[in-house]
Protein backbone atom coordinates (compact mmCIF):
# COMPACT_ATOMS: atom_id res chain seq x y z
CA UNK A 1 0.00 0.00 0.00
CA UNK A 2 2.78 2.36 1.00
CA UNK A 3 6.40 2.04 0.10
CA UNK A 4 9.32 4.30 0.98
CA UNK A 5 12.67 3.77 -0.71
CA UNK A 6 15.92 5.29 0.55
CA UNK A 7 14.28 8.47 1.81
CA UNK A 8 16.75 11.22 2.75
CA UNK A 9 15.90 14.63 4.14
CA UNK A 10 18.34 17.29 5.28
CA UNK A 11 17.33 20.57 6.88
CA UNK A 12 19.50 23.72 6.72
CA UNK A 13 21.93 21.99 4.38
CA UNK A 14 25.39 23.54 4.30
CA UNK A 15 24.94 25.61 7.45
CA UNK A 16 26.24 24.94 10.98
CA UNK A 17 22.65 23.98 11.90
CA UNK A 18 22.55 21.23 9.29
CA UNK A 19 20.29 18.43 10.44
CA UNK A 20 20.02 15.04 8.77
CA UNK A 21 16.41 14.34 9.66
CA UNK A 22 15.97 11.19 7.61
CA UNK A 23 18.85 8.99 6.49
CA UNK A 24 17.90 6.28 4.07
CA UNK A 25 14.52 5.17 5.29
CA UNK A 26 13.17 2.00 3.70
CA UNK A 27 9.68 1.04 4.71
CA UNK A 28 6.88 -1.03 3.29
CA UNK A 29 3.34 -1.16 4.62
CA UNK A 30 1.07 -3.89 3.33
CA UNK A 31 -2.66 -3.45 3.17
CA UNK A 32 -4.15 -3.62 6.66
CA UNK A 33 -0.82 -3.13 8.45
CA UNK A 34 -0.90 -1.05 11.62
CA UNK A 35 2.63 0.09 12.38
CA UNK A 36 3.50 1.98 15.54
CA UNK A 37 6.59 4.19 15.49
CA UNK A 38 8.51 5.14 18.62
CA UNK A 39 11.63 7.20 19.10
CA UNK A 40 12.93 10.10 21.13
CA UNK A 41 12.58 13.75 20.16
CA UNK A 42 14.39 14.58 16.96
CA UNK A 43 14.45 10.98 15.78
CA UNK A 44 12.71 11.99 12.56
CA UNK A 45 9.27 10.52 13.25
CA UNK A 46 7.30 13.64 12.37
CA UNK A 47 9.50 14.35 9.35
CA UNK A 48 8.74 10.84 8.14
CA UNK A 49 4.98 11.46 8.39
CA UNK A 50 5.39 14.81 6.63
CA UNK A 51 7.24 13.15 3.75
CA UNK A 52 4.49 10.56 3.40
CA UNK A 53 1.75 13.22 3.55
CA UNK A 54 3.54 15.49 1.07
CA UNK A 55 3.95 18.43 3.46
CA UNK A 56 7.65 18.29 2.58
CA UNK A 57 9.34 16.56 -0.31
CA UNK A 58 12.31 14.21 0.26
CA UNK A 59 15.75 15.28 -0.99
CA UNK A 60 16.31 11.75 -2.20
CA UNK A 61 14.23 8.62 -2.48
CA UNK A 62 10.84 7.53 -3.68
CA UNK A 63 7.38 7.41 -2.13
CA UNK A 64 4.89 4.97 -3.63
CA UNK A 65 1.27 4.93 -2.56
CA UNK A 66 -0.96 2.16 -3.88
CA UNK A 67 1.52 1.42 -6.68
CA UNK A 68 1.58 5.04 -7.83
CA UNK A 69 4.67 7.21 -7.66
CA UNK A 70 3.62 9.94 -5.20
CA UNK A 71 7.06 11.39 -4.41
CA UNK A 72 6.32 14.90 -5.67
CA UNK A 73 2.54 14.99 -5.61
CA UNK A 74 1.56 18.06 -3.52
CA UNK A 75 -0.08 17.65 -0.14
CA UNK A 76 -3.62 18.65 -1.08
CA UNK A 77 -3.76 16.21 -3.99
CA UNK A 78 -2.17 13.38 -2.06
CA UNK A 79 -4.74 13.90 0.69
CA UNK A 80 -7.29 11.95 -1.35
CA UNK A 81 -5.48 8.77 -0.22
CA UNK A 82 -4.36 9.90 3.22
CA UNK A 83 -6.22 10.60 6.44
CA UNK A 84 -4.29 12.48 9.11
CA UNK A 85 -4.67 13.34 12.78
CA UNK A 86 -2.28 15.83 14.34
CA UNK A 87 -0.87 16.06 17.84
CA UNK A 88 -2.57 19.39 18.51
CA UNK A 89 -6.30 18.75 19.10
CA UNK A 90 -6.98 22.20 17.59
CA UNK A 91 -5.22 21.38 14.32
CA UNK A 92 -7.56 18.81 12.82
CA UNK A 93 -10.84 20.73 12.80
CA UNK A 94 -12.09 24.18 11.76
CA UNK A 95 -13.17 25.95 14.99
CA UNK A 96 -15.59 28.47 13.49
CA UNK A 97 -17.49 25.87 11.53
CA UNK A 98 -20.12 23.54 12.94
CA UNK A 99 -19.64 19.81 13.51
CA UNK A 100 -21.76 18.96 10.47
CA UNK A 101 -19.85 21.44 8.30
CA UNK A 102 -16.56 19.91 9.42
CA UNK A 103 -17.83 16.43 8.56
CA UNK A 104 -19.05 17.66 5.16
CA UNK A 105 -15.60 19.10 4.55
CA UNK A 106 -14.02 15.76 5.46
CA UNK A 107 -16.35 14.08 2.98
CA UNK A 108 -14.78 16.21 0.25
CA UNK A 109 -11.37 14.61 0.80
CA UNK A 110 -11.93 11.84 -1.70
CA UNK A 111 -13.85 13.62 -4.45
CA UNK A 112 -13.99 16.92 -6.27
CA UNK A 113 -15.92 19.60 -4.41
CA UNK A 114 -19.08 20.79 -6.14
CA UNK A 115 -21.40 23.77 -5.87
CA UNK A 116 -24.07 21.62 -4.25
CA UNK A 117 -24.97 22.24 -0.61
CA UNK A 118 -22.34 20.78 1.72
CA UNK A 119 -24.83 19.76 4.40
CA UNK A 120 -27.98 18.24 2.90
CA UNK A 121 -30.70 16.65 5.02
CA UNK A 122 -29.64 13.23 3.75
CA UNK A 123 -26.07 13.87 4.84
CA UNK A 124 -27.25 15.21 8.17
CA UNK A 125 -28.79 11.82 8.87
CA UNK A 126 -25.61 10.03 7.85
CA UNK A 127 -23.50 12.34 10.02
CA UNK A 128 -25.71 11.66 13.01
CA UNK A 129 -25.25 7.93 12.54
CA UNK A 130 -21.50 8.22 12.11
CA UNK A 131 -21.22 10.39 15.21
CA UNK A 132 -23.32 8.09 17.35
CA UNK A 133 -20.91 5.27 16.45
CA UNK A 134 -18.21 6.88 18.61
CA UNK A 135 -20.71 7.39 21.42
CA UNK A 136 -19.53 10.61 23.04
CA UNK A 137 -22.77 12.52 22.57
CA UNK A 138 -21.74 14.60 19.55
CA UNK A 139 -24.66 13.26 17.49
CA UNK A 140 -26.99 15.72 19.23
CA UNK A 141 -24.72 18.70 18.66
CA UNK A 142 -24.47 18.77 14.84
CA UNK A 143 -24.84 22.55 14.66
CA UNK A 144 -22.44 23.33 17.51
CA UNK A 145 -19.30 25.24 16.51
CA UNK A 146 -16.33 22.93 16.87
CA UNK A 147 -14.39 25.63 18.75
CA UNK A 148 -16.75 25.10 21.68
CA UNK A 149 -15.80 21.42 22.10
CA UNK A 150 -13.22 20.21 24.60
CA UNK A 151 -9.78 19.05 23.45
CA UNK A 152 -10.73 15.40 23.84
CA UNK A 153 -13.95 15.83 21.89
CA UNK A 154 -12.15 17.71 19.14
CA UNK A 155 -9.51 15.02 18.84
CA UNK A 156 -12.15 12.29 18.72
CA UNK A 157 -13.91 14.26 15.98
CA UNK A 158 -10.63 14.73 14.09
CA UNK A 159 -10.04 11.00 14.26
CA UNK A 160 -13.53 10.29 13.00
CA UNK A 161 -13.17 12.84 10.18
CA UNK A 162 -9.87 11.30 9.11
CA UNK A 163 -11.21 7.75 9.07
CA UNK A 164 -14.86 7.62 8.03
CA UNK A 165 -14.03 8.21 4.37
CA UNK A 166 -11.76 5.14 4.48
CA UNK A 167 -8.37 6.52 3.46
CA UNK A 168 -5.83 4.16 1.94
CA UNK A 169 -3.36 5.27 4.60
CA UNK A 170 -4.01 6.73 8.05
CA UNK A 171 -1.25 8.81 9.63
CA UNK A 172 -1.45 9.51 13.37
CA UNK A 173 1.11 11.94 14.77
CA UNK A 174 1.18 11.52 18.57
CA UNK A 175 -2.51 12.21 18.48
CA UNK A 176 -3.07 11.38 22.16
CA UNK A 177 -0.01 13.18 23.56
CA UNK A 178 -1.75 16.49 24.30
CA UNK A 179 -4.73 14.97 26.11
CA UNK A 180 -5.25 14.14 29.77
CA UNK A 181 -4.96 10.41 30.63
CA UNK A 182 -8.68 9.58 30.55
CA UNK A 183 -9.25 11.41 27.26
CA UNK A 184 -6.10 9.87 25.81
CA UNK A 185 -7.45 6.46 26.71
CA UNK A 186 -10.74 7.24 25.00
CA UNK A 187 -9.02 8.37 21.82
CA UNK A 188 -6.72 5.33 21.90
CA UNK A 189 -9.75 3.06 22.22
CA UNK A 190 -11.49 4.87 19.35
CA UNK A 191 -8.36 4.54 17.23
CA UNK A 192 -8.36 0.80 17.76
CA UNK A 193 -12.07 0.51 16.95
CA UNK A 194 -12.05 2.72 13.87
CA UNK A 195 -8.92 1.17 12.37
CA UNK A 196 -10.40 -2.29 12.84
CA UNK A 197 -13.81 -1.32 11.52
CA UNK A 198 -12.49 0.25 8.32
CA UNK A 199 -9.47 -2.10 7.97
CA UNK A 200 -7.15 0.88 7.62
CA UNK A 201 -3.47 0.75 6.80
CA UNK A 202 -2.07 2.86 9.60
CA UNK A 203 1.18 4.47 10.68
CA UNK A 204 1.08 5.82 14.22
CA UNK A 205 3.81 7.86 15.87
CA UNK A 206 3.82 7.82 19.65
CA UNK A 207 5.96 8.72 22.61
CA UNK A 208 4.40 6.10 24.81
CA UNK A 209 6.03 2.67 24.62
CA UNK A 210 3.11 0.85 26.19
CA UNK A 211 0.75 2.35 23.61
CA UNK A 212 3.13 1.35 20.83
CA UNK A 213 3.14 -2.22 22.11
CA UNK A 214 -0.58 -2.38 22.77
CA UNK A 215 -1.72 -1.15 19.37
CA UNK A 216 -0.99 -2.43 15.89
CA UNK A 217 0.61 -5.50 14.41
CA UNK A 218 4.09 -4.10 13.75
CA UNK A 219 6.42 -1.80 15.65
CA UNK A 220 9.46 0.18 14.65
CA UNK A 221 11.92 2.30 16.58
CA UNK A 222 13.61 5.34 15.07
CA UNK A 223 16.72 7.20 16.12
CA UNK A 224 18.74 9.92 14.39
CA UNK A 225 16.77 9.61 11.18
CA UNK A 226 17.07 5.86 10.85
CA UNK A 227 14.91 2.87 11.61
CA UNK A 228 17.00 1.05 14.20
CA UNK A 229 14.66 -1.72 15.22
CA UNK A 230 11.64 -3.44 13.76
CA UNK A 231 9.31 -5.99 15.27
CA UNK A 232 6.94 -7.99 13.10
CA UNK A 233 3.67 -9.51 14.18
CA UNK A 234 5.35 -12.53 15.79
CA UNK A 235 8.02 -10.60 17.69
CA UNK A 236 5.59 -7.95 18.82
CA UNK A 237 3.47 -10.36 20.84
CA UNK A 238 6.25 -10.93 23.39
CA UNK A 239 7.54 -7.35 23.48
CA UNK A 240 7.63 -5.48 26.76
CA UNK A 241 8.73 -1.97 27.59
CA UNK A 242 11.86 -3.38 29.28
CA UNK A 243 12.66 -5.31 26.12
CA UNK A 244 12.41 -2.17 24.05
CA UNK A 245 14.70 -0.16 26.31
CA UNK A 246 17.23 -2.99 26.40
CA UNK A 247 17.03 -3.26 22.62
CA UNK A 248 17.69 0.43 22.23
CA UNK A 249 20.76 0.28 24.48
CA UNK A 250 22.04 -2.77 22.69
CA UNK A 251 21.74 -1.19 19.25
CA UNK A 252 22.85 2.31 20.06
CA UNK A 253 25.35 1.24 22.72
CA UNK A 254 24.66 4.25 24.86
CA UNK A 255 22.79 4.82 28.05
CA UNK A 256 19.25 5.99 27.67
CA UNK A 257 19.51 8.33 30.58
CA UNK A 258 18.25 11.26 28.55
CA UNK A 259 16.04 9.36 26.21
CA UNK A 260 14.39 7.45 28.96
CA UNK A 261 12.98 10.60 30.41
CA UNK A 262 11.62 11.51 27.01
CA UNK A 263 10.02 8.17 26.36
CA UNK A 264 7.16 7.83 28.76
CA UNK A 265 6.56 4.29 29.92
Amino acid sequence: MLQLKQIEKVFYEGTPDEKRALQGIDLKLNEGDFVTVIGSNGAGKSTLLNVIAGVIFPDFGKVTIDNQDATFIPEHRRAQWIGRVFQDPMAGTAPHMTIEENLALALGRTKKRSLLPGVSSKRKKEFREILSSIDIGLENRLTTKVGLLSGGERQALSLLMATFTKPKILLLDEHTAALDPSRAELVTRLTKELVERHQLTTLMVTHQMDQAIELGNRLMMMDAGQIIFEANEEDKKDLTVEHLIAKFQEIRGKKMANDRSLLTV
Binding site: H76, Q80, M97, R113, S114, L116, G118, V119
Partner: protein, 341 residues
Amino acid sequence: MVTSLYGAVEQGLIYAIMALGVYLTFRILDFPDLTVDGSFVTGGAVSAVMIVNGYDPFVSILAGGLIGFFAGCVTGILHTHGKINPLLSGIIMMIALYSINLRIMGKPTIPLLNETTWFKQIGTWWEQSGIDAAIFSLFSSMGMEEYMPKTFLVIFSMMLLVMIIKKMMDWLLATEAGLALRATGDNDRMAKSFSANTKGYIIIGLGISNGMVAVSGAMITHYNGFADINLGIGMIIVGLASVIIGEGLFGKDKMARATLAVILGAIIYRIIISLALRMDFFDASDMKLITAVIVVGALVIPVWWRQFRDRKKRMARKKEIDAQEQTHTEGASQIATTEAD
Protein backbone atom coordinates in the same frame (compact mmCIF):
# COMPACT_ATOMS: atom_id res chain seq x y z
CA MET B 1 -32.47 66.22 8.09
CA VAL B 2 -34.76 63.34 7.18
CA THR B 3 -34.07 63.65 3.49
CA SER B 4 -30.33 63.41 4.14
CA LEU B 5 -31.04 60.14 5.93
CA TYR B 6 -32.56 58.77 2.73
CA GLY B 7 -29.31 59.62 1.00
CA ALA B 8 -27.36 57.84 3.73
CA VAL B 9 -29.48 54.71 3.36
CA GLU B 10 -29.12 54.80 -0.42
CA GLN B 11 -25.36 55.06 -0.21
CA GLY B 12 -25.24 52.52 2.60
CA LEU B 13 -27.01 49.98 0.43
CA ILE B 14 -24.57 50.53 -2.43
CA TYR B 15 -21.52 50.39 -0.13
CA ALA B 16 -22.98 47.25 1.46
CA ILE B 17 -21.87 45.26 -1.60
CA MET B 18 -18.32 46.47 -0.97
CA ALA B 19 -18.65 45.65 2.75
CA LEU B 20 -19.75 42.09 1.90
CA GLY B 21 -16.63 41.77 -0.23
CA VAL B 22 -14.46 42.99 2.64
CA TYR B 23 -16.25 40.57 4.96
CA LEU B 24 -15.30 37.72 2.63
CA THR B 25 -11.58 38.48 2.82
CA PHE B 26 -11.27 39.85 6.34
CA ARG B 27 -13.47 37.42 8.19
CA ILE B 28 -13.92 34.35 6.00
CA LEU B 29 -10.44 34.12 4.49
CA ASP B 30 -8.70 35.90 7.39
CA PHE B 31 -6.79 37.90 4.78
CA PRO B 32 -6.59 41.68 5.39
CA ASP B 33 -6.86 42.68 1.74
CA LEU B 34 -5.97 46.30 0.95
CA THR B 35 -6.52 45.84 -2.80
CA VAL B 36 -10.00 47.24 -2.09
CA ASP B 37 -8.83 50.88 -2.23
CA GLY B 38 -7.76 50.30 -5.83
CA SER B 39 -10.36 47.83 -7.08
CA PHE B 40 -13.23 50.03 -5.91
CA VAL B 41 -12.04 52.75 -8.28
CA THR B 42 -11.28 50.21 -11.01
CA GLY B 43 -14.94 49.19 -11.06
CA GLY B 44 -16.02 52.81 -11.38
CA ALA B 45 -13.37 53.60 -13.99
CA VAL B 46 -14.19 50.67 -16.28
CA SER B 47 -17.90 51.30 -15.99
CA ALA B 48 -17.61 55.07 -16.64
CA VAL B 49 -15.41 54.64 -19.69
CA MET B 50 -17.75 52.03 -21.11
CA ILE B 51 -20.82 54.21 -20.59
CA VAL B 52 -19.13 57.15 -22.29
CA ASN B 53 -18.40 54.82 -25.19
CA GLY B 54 -22.05 53.90 -25.44
CA TYR B 55 -22.20 50.50 -23.75
CA ASP B 56 -25.22 49.39 -21.77
CA PRO B 57 -24.89 50.66 -18.17
CA PHE B 58 -25.64 47.29 -16.57
CA VAL B 59 -23.13 45.53 -18.81
CA SER B 60 -20.57 48.17 -17.84
CA ILE B 61 -21.12 47.41 -14.14
CA LEU B 62 -20.62 43.69 -14.72
CA ALA B 63 -17.47 44.42 -16.75
CA GLY B 64 -16.16 46.57 -13.90
CA GLY B 65 -16.80 43.67 -11.52
CA LEU B 66 -14.96 41.28 -13.81
CA ILE B 67 -11.85 43.48 -13.93
CA GLY B 68 -12.03 43.82 -10.14
CA PHE B 69 -12.15 40.03 -9.95
CA PHE B 70 -8.92 39.76 -11.91
CA ALA B 71 -7.23 42.42 -9.76
CA GLY B 72 -8.15 40.42 -6.66
CA CYS B 73 -6.80 37.23 -8.22
CA VAL B 74 -3.47 38.95 -8.87
CA THR B 75 -3.24 39.91 -5.18
CA GLY B 76 -3.97 36.29 -4.34
CA ILE B 77 -1.27 35.02 -6.68
CA LEU B 78 1.26 37.50 -5.25
CA HIS B 79 0.57 36.05 -1.82
CA THR B 80 0.20 32.34 -2.56
CA HIS B 81 2.80 31.90 -5.29
CA GLY B 82 5.02 34.90 -4.65
CA LYS B 83 5.02 34.22 -0.89
CA ILE B 84 4.48 37.93 -0.24
CA ASN B 85 2.89 38.90 3.08
CA PRO B 86 -0.90 39.43 2.72
CA LEU B 87 -0.87 43.10 3.74
CA LEU B 88 2.01 43.85 1.40
CA SER B 89 0.42 42.00 -1.53
CA GLY B 90 -2.67 44.16 -1.11
CA ILE B 91 -0.72 47.40 -0.83
CA ILE B 92 1.30 46.56 -3.93
CA MET B 93 -1.86 45.93 -5.94
CA MET B 94 -3.50 49.06 -4.53
CA ILE B 95 -0.60 51.20 -5.73
CA ALA B 96 -0.42 49.45 -9.08
CA LEU B 97 -4.15 49.89 -9.60
CA TYR B 98 -3.89 53.64 -9.01
CA SER B 99 -1.84 53.97 -12.19
CA ILE B 100 -3.93 51.38 -14.02
CA ASN B 101 -7.13 53.22 -13.09
CA LEU B 102 -5.67 56.46 -14.47
CA ARG B 103 -4.77 54.60 -17.67
CA ILE B 104 -8.32 53.27 -17.95
CA MET B 105 -9.91 56.67 -17.31
CA GLY B 106 -7.35 58.76 -19.21
CA LYS B 107 -8.02 61.63 -16.79
CA PRO B 108 -8.64 61.95 -13.06
CA THR B 109 -12.41 62.43 -13.34
CA ILE B 110 -15.04 61.38 -15.86
CA PRO B 111 -18.38 63.19 -15.55
CA LEU B 112 -21.46 61.10 -16.34
CA LEU B 113 -24.07 63.85 -16.02
CA ASN B 114 -25.23 63.62 -19.60
CA GLU B 115 -24.77 59.87 -19.90
CA THR B 116 -27.30 57.14 -19.29
CA THR B 117 -26.33 55.66 -15.94
CA TRP B 118 -27.92 52.50 -14.61
CA PHE B 119 -30.13 54.46 -12.23
CA LYS B 120 -31.35 56.70 -15.07
CA GLN B 121 -31.99 53.62 -17.19
CA ILE B 122 -34.12 51.83 -14.65
CA GLY B 123 -35.56 55.21 -13.60
CA THR B 124 -37.70 55.53 -16.72
CA TRP B 125 -39.18 52.09 -16.07
CA TRP B 126 -39.61 52.98 -12.40
CA GLU B 127 -41.63 56.11 -13.18
CA GLN B 128 -43.96 54.13 -15.39
CA SER B 129 -44.53 51.63 -12.58
CA GLY B 130 -46.04 54.41 -10.49
CA ILE B 131 -44.68 53.06 -7.18
CA ASP B 132 -43.17 56.44 -6.29
CA ALA B 133 -46.49 58.19 -6.94
CA ALA B 134 -48.33 55.69 -4.75
CA ILE B 135 -45.91 56.10 -1.84
CA PHE B 136 -45.90 59.88 -2.22
CA SER B 137 -49.68 60.03 -2.02
CA LEU B 138 -49.44 57.91 1.13
CA PHE B 139 -46.96 60.38 2.61
CA SER B 140 -49.08 63.40 1.77
CA SER B 141 -52.24 61.75 3.09
CA MET B 142 -50.41 61.54 6.44
CA GLY B 143 -49.28 65.15 6.08
CA MET B 144 -45.59 64.26 5.83
CA GLU B 145 -44.75 65.92 2.50
CA GLU B 146 -41.62 67.49 3.89
CA TYR B 147 -40.20 64.11 4.82
CA MET B 148 -40.40 62.77 1.28
CA PRO B 149 -37.28 61.84 -0.70
CA LYS B 150 -37.12 62.72 -4.39
CA THR B 151 -37.57 59.08 -5.32
CA PHE B 152 -37.54 55.61 -3.79
CA LEU B 153 -35.90 54.19 -6.91
CA VAL B 154 -32.40 53.77 -5.46
CA ILE B 155 -33.56 52.38 -2.14
CA PHE B 156 -35.89 49.83 -3.70
CA SER B 157 -33.61 48.73 -6.52
CA MET B 158 -30.54 48.50 -4.29
CA MET B 159 -32.41 46.65 -1.58
CA LEU B 160 -33.44 44.06 -4.13
CA LEU B 161 -29.93 43.81 -5.62
CA VAL B 162 -28.17 43.64 -2.23
CA MET B 163 -30.53 40.93 -1.02
CA ILE B 164 -29.88 38.92 -4.19
CA ILE B 165 -26.11 39.25 -3.67
CA LYS B 166 -26.45 38.35 0.00
CA LYS B 167 -28.50 35.25 -0.83
CA MET B 168 -25.96 34.19 -3.44
CA MET B 169 -23.13 34.63 -0.95
CA ASP B 170 -24.97 32.63 1.73
CA TRP B 171 -25.62 29.88 -0.79
CA LEU B 172 -22.03 29.86 -2.07
CA LEU B 173 -20.53 29.65 1.42
CA ALA B 174 -22.71 26.65 2.24
CA THR B 175 -21.72 24.62 -0.82
CA GLU B 176 -18.99 22.00 -0.68
CA ALA B 177 -16.55 24.42 -2.31
CA GLY B 178 -17.74 27.20 0.00
CA LEU B 179 -17.06 25.07 3.06
CA ALA B 180 -13.53 24.45 1.80
CA LEU B 181 -13.10 28.21 1.27
CA ARG B 182 -14.17 28.87 4.86
CA ALA B 183 -11.93 26.12 6.19
CA THR B 184 -9.02 27.67 4.30
CA GLY B 185 -9.47 30.85 6.29
CA ASP B 186 -10.27 29.05 9.53
CA ASN B 187 -7.56 26.37 9.62
CA ASP B 188 -5.57 26.09 6.45
CA ARG B 189 -3.44 23.17 7.59
CA MET B 190 -6.58 21.17 8.21
CA ALA B 191 -8.11 22.28 4.90
CA LYS B 192 -5.05 20.99 3.04
CA SER B 193 -5.18 17.67 4.86
CA PHE B 194 -8.72 17.28 3.49
CA SER B 195 -7.73 17.81 -0.14
CA ALA B 196 -8.55 21.53 -0.34
CA ASN B 197 -6.29 23.44 -2.72
CA THR B 198 -5.90 26.31 -0.27
CA LYS B 199 -3.87 28.46 -2.65
CA GLY B 200 -6.60 28.20 -5.26
CA TYR B 201 -9.29 29.05 -2.74
CA ILE B 202 -7.38 32.13 -1.55
CA ILE B 203 -6.98 33.36 -5.13
CA ILE B 204 -10.63 32.76 -6.06
CA GLY B 205 -11.84 34.19 -2.74
CA LEU B 206 -9.86 37.39 -3.23
CA GLY B 207 -11.15 37.56 -6.80
CA ILE B 208 -14.81 37.28 -5.77
CA SER B 209 -14.29 39.80 -2.98
CA ASN B 210 -12.71 42.39 -5.25
CA GLY B 211 -15.29 41.69 -7.93
CA MET B 212 -17.98 42.69 -5.44
CA VAL B 213 -15.97 45.74 -4.38
CA ALA B 214 -15.62 46.81 -8.01
CA VAL B 215 -19.37 46.37 -8.65
CA SER B 216 -20.01 48.57 -5.63
CA GLY B 217 -17.51 51.14 -6.96
CA ALA B 218 -19.21 51.12 -10.34
CA MET B 219 -22.63 51.69 -8.79
CA ILE B 220 -21.35 54.54 -6.62
CA THR B 221 -19.97 56.10 -9.79
CA HIS B 222 -23.40 55.83 -11.38
CA TYR B 223 -25.02 57.20 -8.23
CA ASN B 224 -22.61 60.15 -7.93
CA GLY B 225 -22.71 60.88 -11.65
CA PHE B 226 -18.94 60.90 -12.03
CA ALA B 227 -15.90 58.65 -11.72
CA ASP B 228 -13.01 59.92 -9.62
CA ILE B 229 -9.50 58.52 -9.25
CA ASN B 230 -9.42 59.31 -5.52
CA LEU B 231 -12.77 57.78 -4.68
CA GLY B 232 -11.17 54.66 -3.20
CA ILE B 233 -8.90 56.22 -0.60
CA GLY B 234 -9.62 54.66 2.79
CA MET B 235 -12.28 52.37 1.32
CA ILE B 236 -10.91 49.35 3.17
CA ILE B 237 -11.48 51.13 6.47
CA VAL B 238 -15.04 52.00 5.46
CA GLY B 239 -15.62 48.33 4.68
CA LEU B 240 -14.04 47.24 7.92
CA ALA B 241 -16.11 49.76 9.88
CA SER B 242 -19.28 48.34 8.33
CA VAL B 243 -18.25 44.77 9.18
CA ILE B 244 -17.35 45.59 12.77
CA ILE B 245 -20.40 47.78 13.45
CA GLY B 246 -22.69 45.18 11.89
CA GLU B 247 -21.21 42.26 13.79
CA GLY B 248 -21.20 44.21 17.03
CA LEU B 249 -24.85 45.25 16.79
CA PHE B 250 -26.48 42.33 15.05
CA GLY B 251 -24.32 39.30 15.88
CA LYS B 252 -22.33 36.92 13.74
CA ASP B 253 -23.33 33.46 14.92
CA LYS B 254 -24.73 32.08 11.71
CA MET B 255 -23.51 32.81 8.21
CA ALA B 256 -26.82 34.28 6.99
CA ARG B 257 -27.02 36.42 10.12
CA ALA B 258 -23.49 37.72 9.66
CA THR B 259 -24.00 38.76 6.04
CA LEU B 260 -27.20 40.59 6.99
CA ALA B 261 -25.34 42.25 9.87
CA VAL B 262 -22.65 43.50 7.47
CA ILE B 263 -25.27 45.06 5.18
CA LEU B 264 -26.97 46.80 8.11
CA GLY B 265 -23.54 47.85 9.39
CA ALA B 266 -22.80 49.55 6.07
CA ILE B 267 -26.08 51.50 6.26
CA ILE B 268 -25.56 52.49 9.89
CA TYR B 269 -22.03 53.64 9.12
CA ARG B 270 -23.38 55.96 6.40
CA ILE B 271 -26.02 57.31 8.77
CA ILE B 272 -23.40 58.03 11.44
CA ILE B 273 -21.25 59.84 8.86
CA SER B 274 -24.14 61.90 7.54
CA LEU B 275 -25.19 62.88 11.07
CA ALA B 276 -21.62 63.83 11.97
CA LEU B 277 -21.24 65.92 8.84
CA ARG B 278 -24.39 67.85 9.71
CA MET B 279 -22.60 69.27 12.73
CA ASP B 280 -21.23 72.73 11.91
CA PHE B 281 -17.88 71.86 13.39
CA PHE B 282 -17.07 69.21 10.76
CA ASP B 283 -16.13 69.75 7.12
CA ALA B 284 -16.66 67.20 4.38
CA SER B 285 -12.89 66.73 4.42
CA ASP B 286 -13.10 65.47 8.02
CA MET B 287 -14.90 62.34 6.87
CA LYS B 288 -11.79 60.15 6.94
CA LEU B 289 -11.00 61.25 10.49
CA ILE B 290 -14.56 60.52 11.57
CA THR B 291 -14.28 57.11 9.92
CA ALA B 292 -11.05 56.39 11.79
CA VAL B 293 -12.66 57.39 15.08
CA ILE B 294 -15.70 55.20 14.37
CA VAL B 295 -13.49 52.18 13.64
CA VAL B 296 -11.39 52.72 16.76
CA GLY B 297 -14.55 53.17 18.80
CA ALA B 298 -16.18 50.06 17.35
CA LEU B 299 -13.06 48.04 18.11
CA VAL B 300 -12.25 49.42 21.54
CA ILE B 301 -15.57 50.19 23.23
CA PRO B 302 -16.84 46.58 23.35
CA VAL B 303 -13.52 45.44 24.84
CA TRP B 304 -13.50 48.18 27.47
CA TRP B 305 -17.14 47.60 28.24
CA ARG B 306 -16.50 43.89 28.83
CA GLN B 307 -13.48 44.67 31.06
CA PHE B 308 -15.51 47.19 33.03
CA ARG B 309 -18.37 44.73 33.50
CA ASP B 310 -16.07 41.88 34.58
CA ARG B 311 -14.26 44.17 37.00
CA LYS B 312 -17.52 45.25 38.55
CA LYS B 313 -18.54 41.61 38.94
CA ARG B 314 -15.23 40.72 40.55
CA MET B 315 -15.39 43.67 42.92
CA ALA B 316 -18.91 42.72 43.97
CA ARG B 317 -17.81 39.14 44.65
CA LYS B 318 -14.81 40.31 46.62
CA LYS B 319 -17.02 42.54 48.75
CA GLU B 320 -19.11 39.50 49.60
CA ILE B 321 -16.04 37.71 50.88
CA ASP B 322 -14.89 40.79 52.76
CA ALA B 323 -18.27 40.97 54.43
CA GLN B 324 -18.11 37.29 55.35
CA GLU B 325 -14.66 37.72 56.82
CA GLN B 326 -15.76 40.68 58.81
CA THR B 327 -18.71 38.91 60.41
CA HIS B 328 -16.38 36.04 61.10
CA THR B 329 -13.74 38.11 62.91
CA GLU B 330 -16.43 40.07 64.71
CA GLY B 331 -17.94 36.82 65.90
CA ALA B 332 -14.54 35.54 66.93
CA SER B 333 -13.67 38.66 68.89
CA GLN B 334 -17.06 38.54 70.58
CA ILE B 335 -16.38 34.99 71.66
CA ALA B 336 -12.93 36.08 72.83
CA THR B 337 -14.34 38.89 74.97
CA THR B 338 -17.01 36.68 76.47
CA GLU B 339 -14.34 34.14 77.32
CA ALA B 340 -12.18 36.84 78.89
CA ASP B 341 -15.14 37.91 80.97
